[in-house]
């Protein structure tokens, strides 16, 4: 008798008490190095077969201590740092920060600066939604939209590059207005884009909106009711897809959004498909805003009278804007010195990600990927 059979005879070969096809809870780890987590997000999934019983997000892998850095920089020096939070929508980040400091200083950017700001921010909203659409569709298995959206996003990035020299972390605005006047041909480039882009949105929609696989993968997936969405503080397209008609651009207009005519799209079911539709309409509405802004852009200065050394009076202010992902807020406390005493960033991605758990409970593992995509998170902003 050799060693192997000896070992076998020691095994307990009686019939197990439980049936073979028993369901067992399984804990598996997803990420942080996972292509569908859009960066370094780690999700611990508790599964029953393929059904999700619960999730826990582990975040912080990209934490750079932005809020601490702010306390050790002057107001002007901190400005470029905000671009590195939501790096696909850097222009929106900059707008929120500049406006918050302007509010603290009690100055207002001149009208021309506001128009330039609106044009660039809306272009950035489109670029951010394009990136979301491409990666989200890729996660679900449709590869073509990624190439289409990146091809067209290039046109927006070219405008950014010509305007301020950078494509992603633009640092486009300054406290009090804009640093740069528009370049010669800016108007033409933006108008060309306005003519170029609507057929491209039709193209994306042709690929996805009526696509049976897309509908199967997104309808009734990751549903969140309006009540839950509000309780979880979810904002942006995710909230609107649940049927809450709320957009800070309309509710509490900043810059000069009050001058423009545009619609806020809402969904009914709060599922992944509705969020897709809401963002597609938002891109078209952004085009409408850009068109009105580029046609109505006034002449005049682009910088308000702001002192060289920014020293806001003692006080605290909260200012928020509608970033592509939701409410982006800045809470700034000034102690009267040249450096902010405290800067708190209220990131939309961080708060929206918290709702992942209730959105995926009872769904399949594959749907977790779809829901992470539809939440449109940027980990640079979640972790700051």
């Amino acid at each position: 008798m050799n060693d192997r059979t000896d070992a076998l005879s020691n095994l307990d070969l009686e019939t197990p008490e439980k049936p073979y096809l028993d369901s067992n809870e399984l804990i598996i780890n997803m990420g942080p190095q996972h292509p569908a987590t859009h960066g370094v997000l780690r999700v611990i999934l508790k599964l029953d077969g393929e059904k999700v019983l619960g999730t826990e997000c582990v975040i912080g892998y990209l934490h750079r201590g932005v809020e601490k850095i702010a306390e050790n920089r002057t107001y002007t020096m901190f400005n470029p740092y905000v671009d590195r939070m939501d790096y696909v929508a850097a222009v929106s980040n900059g707008l929120g920060y500049c406006q918050a400091v302007e509010k603290l200083l009690n100055v207002e950017a001149p009208p021309r600066a506001n128009y330039i700001r609106v044009i660039l921010t809306e272009l950035n909203r489109i670029a951010s939604h394009q990136l979301w659409l491409g990666t989200h569709a890729l996660d679900i298995g449709a590869m073509t939209p990624l190439f289409y959206t990146f091809r067209d996003r290039e046109e927006i990035l070219k405008i950014f590059e010509k305007y301020c020299g950078a494509r992603l972390t633009t640092h486009a605005f300054r406290i009090g207005g804009c640093q740069y006047e528009t370049y010669a041909g800016f108007e033409k480039d933006v108008k060309n884009f306005l003519a170029f882009f609507p057929p491209k949105i039709d193209e994306y929609e042709e690929l996805l909106t009526g696509n049976r696989i897309w509908i199967e993968r997104t309808k009734n997936v990751g549903v969140i009711s309006a009540k839950d969405a509000i309780a979880f503080g979810v904002t942006g397209p995710v909230l609107r897809a649940s049927g809450v008609k709320w957009d800070i651009r309309k509710a509490q207009p900043y810059a000069n959004y009050a001058d423009f005519d545009f619609e806020i799209p809402i969904g009914q079911n709060g599922d992944t498909y509705d969020r897709y539709i809401v963002r597609m309409i938002e891109m078209r509405q952004s085009l409408r805003i850009i068109e009105q802004a580029i046609n109505g852009i006034p002449e005049g200065p682009i910088m308000a009278k702001v002192p060289k050394v920014i020293k806001p009076p003692v006080g605290e202010i909260y200012h928020s804007i509608e970033a592509p992902k939701g409410e982006l807020g800045y809470f700034i406390v000034s102690d009267g010195s040249t450096q902010p005493y405290r800067v708190r960033v209220r990131p939309p991605s961080f708060v929206n990600l918290q709702a992942l758990d209730i959105m995926v409970r009872g769904m399949l593992v594959a749907d977790v990927v779809a829901v992470i995509g539809t939440l449109d998170i940027v980990l640079g902003e979640v972790d700051r």
Binding site: Y318, F331, V351
Partner: protein
């Protein structure tokens, strides 16, 4: 609204405004009842943010803020209270579910604890980290050397 609460709470509550933004400065003892009242009676149904500020020279070292928004009223408001180091606050998770991660971040960065929080642990920093980075006595170059050496296998993160 302001007069009603002033009558109810007297000196425990101050209604202030700065640059057109309204906020309440309330006594620690009114939390969480006052927050609950704001949600139920005044429809502040959306908790935008919870955050804190550290003033090391004061006796009550921390200002804690709740930034609230009401959808029906389209109005923002801040509630502010002061607490001393080592003291805790009641958790707002039963009032707004979103408070969960926001309070965890405040705990992570300032070391303020929230009673009744379902899972109060660090969120952005690693679990074993020592120190609370957004306190003013925590220098920008400071770090948990021991953690870095053990977990990253390098002498220093600087």
């Amino acid at each position: 609204m302001v007069d009603k609460y002033k009558r109810q709470y007297g000196s425990g509550l101050e209604a202030l405004s700065y640059l057109g933004q309204n906020y309440f400065n309330v006594d620690r003892s009114l939390i969480p009842d006052f927050l609950k009242l704001l949600r139920d009676d005044e429809h502040f149904d959306y908790c935008v943010d919870i955050t804190a500020v550290h003033y090391p020279k004061r006796e009550k070292q921390f200002d804690v803020f709740w930034i609230l928004y009401s959808f029906p009223r389209n109005e923002r408001i801040r509630v502010k209270t002061q607490i001393a180091d080592g003291k805790s606050l009641p958790s707002a998770v039963p009032i707004w579910a979103t408070a969960n991660w926001l309070e965890r971040e405040v705990y992570d960065m300032f070391g303020i604890t929230f009673d009744g929080h379902p899972d109060l642990k660090r969120i952005l920093l690693p679990d074993g980290w020592k120190g609370f980075p957004l306190r003013k006595d925590y220098d920008i170059l400071k770090q948990d050397q021991e953690w870095v050496q053990i977990n990253l296998g390098i002498e220093s993160g600087q």
